[in-house]
């Protein structure tokens, strides 16, 4: 038969484009940090790290779910609305507006479990529209993008819910070994998702579906089930992020929780190097992408760039980051 000893790799030479594709965003992040060290006052402090990490948490948590969705070739516009739903529901439960629960811990636990689960169920609904009716993901999730926030607003009649419940707010304000709890949550989710995507059958199936759905189906992958799960996971992530946001603010405003989150999360995923067309994904990339966007925001604010100009700069940086990777990919 044919001789397979051909195409011996002529040593691993350094390929600058491959390097860019792999580390482009990381380089951008490092450059930003250097810039700040040189020009931004009071940058090299623990508190700066703190501020940036706690601010980026919710985006990262949502973007992890989004990465999985995008890996299957889909997209989820509903995440912001799902954040609003879980953010609206939780206080209603732990403040005893639905059924009074005497024990605070029980009430808080019930609030967290139920509201995250509800967001997950809505995610499942997205997945159902997409797999059962073959509705395009953008449109399918547009339904809850519009209606989801409305549901949260109807639930609360639009009213702000304010509260002081330290047991609940622990997830937004607490610290363990000096590290903010939400940062720990974020790290756990990132690690779990990265591991899952790389090492498990489910992860591989997600990528296969994004790469060639028909082939995946014919290889026995339960495409519909995987999609359902992926959108449900995205919903769960959004639900958790919604809780973190309201915990930090001691208040829940159905009108605003998660507003615009879908675009932030998608931008983080793209800047992180995941292709929006599916079939490829990197969770760590998403983390770096989100941090880059966060640091851009911090840099612009800290240096007093006016909002309008900041929008233009942010646009340019997103393009630059994505373009650098694209260059790498095109030449690799």
């Amino acid at each position: 038969m044919t001789d397979t000893s051909q195409t011996a790799h002529t040593g691993k030479r350094f390929d600058p484009f491959d390097f860019l594709a792999r580390y482009g965003t990381l380089i951008a992040l490092v450059l930003l940090i250097l810039f700040n060290l040189a020009f931004t006052r009071n940058f090299a402090t623990i508190q700066t790290l703190n501020v940036n990490l706690t601010q980026v948490c919710t985006i990262v948590i949502v973007a992890v779910g989004m990465t999985l969705v995008i890996a299957t070739g889909g997209i989820d516009l509903s995440v912001g609305s799902l954040m609003a739903i879980s953010g609206a529901l939780a206080p209603m439960i732990f403040l005893g507006k639905i059924i009074p629960i005497d024990n605070v811990y029980l009430a808080v636990a019930a609030a967290m479990v139920v509201s995250i689960a509800v967001a997950g169920l809505f995610g499942l609904f997205n997945g159902w529209l997409i797999s059962a009716f073959r509705i395009q993901p953008i449109v399918a999730t547009l339904v809850l993008f519009i209606a989801g926030r409305g549901i949260a607003q109807v639930m609360t009649n639009g009213n702000l819910q304010t509260f002081r419940v330290p047991q609940f707010q622990f997830i937004g304000l607490g610290r363990v070994l000096g590290i903010p709890v939400q940062v720990i949550l974020m790290a756990l989710i990132v690690l779990a998702a990265a591991w899952m995507l790389k090492r498990t059958v489910f992860g591989r199936q997600i990528i296969a579906i994004g790469g060639n759905e028909r082939a995946a189906e014919l290889s026995g992958i339960a495409v519909a089930k995987v999609k359902l799960l992926v959108y449900a996971i995205s919903g769960l992530c959004a639900g958790l992020a919604g809780l973190v946001v309201i915990a930090i603010n001691s208040s829940s405003d159905a009108n605003l929780v998660g507003l615009g989150m879908e675009l932030d999360a998608i931008a983080a995923v793209a800047v992180g190097g995941t292709l929006l067309s599916g079939g490829k994904a990197t969770i760590i990339g998403t983390l770096i992408g989100a941090m880059t966007i966060q640091l851009v925001r911090y840099t612009l604010l800290a240096n007093g760039v006016p909002d309008a100009a900041a929008l233009v700069v942010k646009a340019a940086i997103i393009i630059l980051a994505v373009w650098i990777q694209q260059q790498g990919r095109a030449h690799a």
Binding site: R41, Q47, T48, V51, L259, A302
Partner: protein, 299 residues
């Protein structure tokens, strides 16, 4: 002159709200709806979802439905002019609430009946003057602006900044938008406090951002009211409570409870009374001297 309103027992009126994305707006809507119910009037309510263009379309649909009078909370000064003119052409009187329109393009008493509301520039001024008088060495200011491009943001900035500009010992070290929202206000405040560790005043264009700023100050390990003075506008109950607690130093009221006065004005107009072109709400000013006493009357 603006179109007349027939004298009737009950009316079908429209209320064109500009948006419903913050507690202030919700309170305003609720007040309008409650009052309509109380009087047994039919209310056609629309929500422009932050779009001036949609608000014009909303007003047009009220005209099409043949309402007797329109209460309009114009999102912006200029783009709502066509709505006011359309109503006038259709013979429907308009009463402006809370925000006004460009006086060079439409006149009270002629294109619309009157404007009822606060003066955003003045609100900024009042807070600025309080700071100048009571700052006690707190002079480095972070300003949290409202939604970029919205008239309360522009005006509250103008009123405040003009006062500060006249006092060279005060300085605005940073001014960025917090979108009138608590979460955004908090994040922006966190960042600005990091970049300007010497700042000791935060002026927020509304309560929500002020409350967000308080979280940010606390997260940075500082004490609101002591290390950093927080100033705000709107004067909702939560903010006035914060004044009582010493976390907010001063807040100008901007009362959203327009219902009673709005409907009274309509009735007076139907009765042929002369209506002043500008009806400015008598807004409270809360600081440590009166907050506890007035807390129960805050909206």
């Amino acid at each position: 002159a603006s179109p007349p309103l027939k004298k009737k027992d009950t009316y079908k009126v429209g209320f064109a709200q500009t948006e419903s994305n913050n507690p202030w707006r919700l309170a305003q809507t609720a007040s309008m709806q409650e009052e309509a119910k109380k009087r047994g009037w039919q209310l056609v309510y629309t929500d422009a979802a932050s779009s001036a263009a949609k608000q014009v379309a909303d007003v047009n649909s009220m005209i099409a439905q043949g309402v007797d009078l329109i209460f309009l909370a114009p999102r912006e000064e200029k783009p709502l002019i066509p709505a006011i003119k359309a109503a006038k052409n259709a013979g429907i009187p308009v009463i402006l609430l809370d925000r006004s329109v460009d006086p060079s393009l439409a006149k009270a008493g002629d294109d619309y009946v009157t404007f009822i509301g606060s003066n955003f520039i003045e609100e900024g001024q009042r807070i600025g003057e309080w700071l100048v008088a009571n700052g006690k060495g707190k002079t480095k200011i972070i300003e949290l602006e409202g939604t970029t491009g919205s008239s309360p943001a522009n005006d509250r900035k103008k009123g405040f900044d003009d006062v500060i500009a006249k006092h060279s010992d005060f300085k605005i070290v940073a001014s960025q938008t917090g979108d009138f929202a608590r979460d955004k206000g908090r994040q922006v405040a966190e960042t600005l406090l990091q970049a300007h560790p010497d700042a000791n005043v935060i002026y927020a264009h509304n309560d929500e951002m002020a409350l967000g700023a308080i979280s940010a100050i606390e997260a940075a390990g500082k004490v609101p009211g002591k290390d950093i003075l927080v100033l705000s506008i709107d004067g909702g109950k939560e903010a006035v409570q914060a004044v009582v607690d010493g976390k907010i130093a001063a807040v100008v009221e901007c009362n959203p409870r327009f219902g009673p006065k709005a409907y009274d004005t309509a009735v007076a107009y139907a009765a042929g009374e002369k209506i002043a072109p500008n009806i400015i709400n008598p807004d409270q000013f809360y600081d440590s001297s009166n907050a506890a006493k007035l807390l129960s009357s805050a909206y």
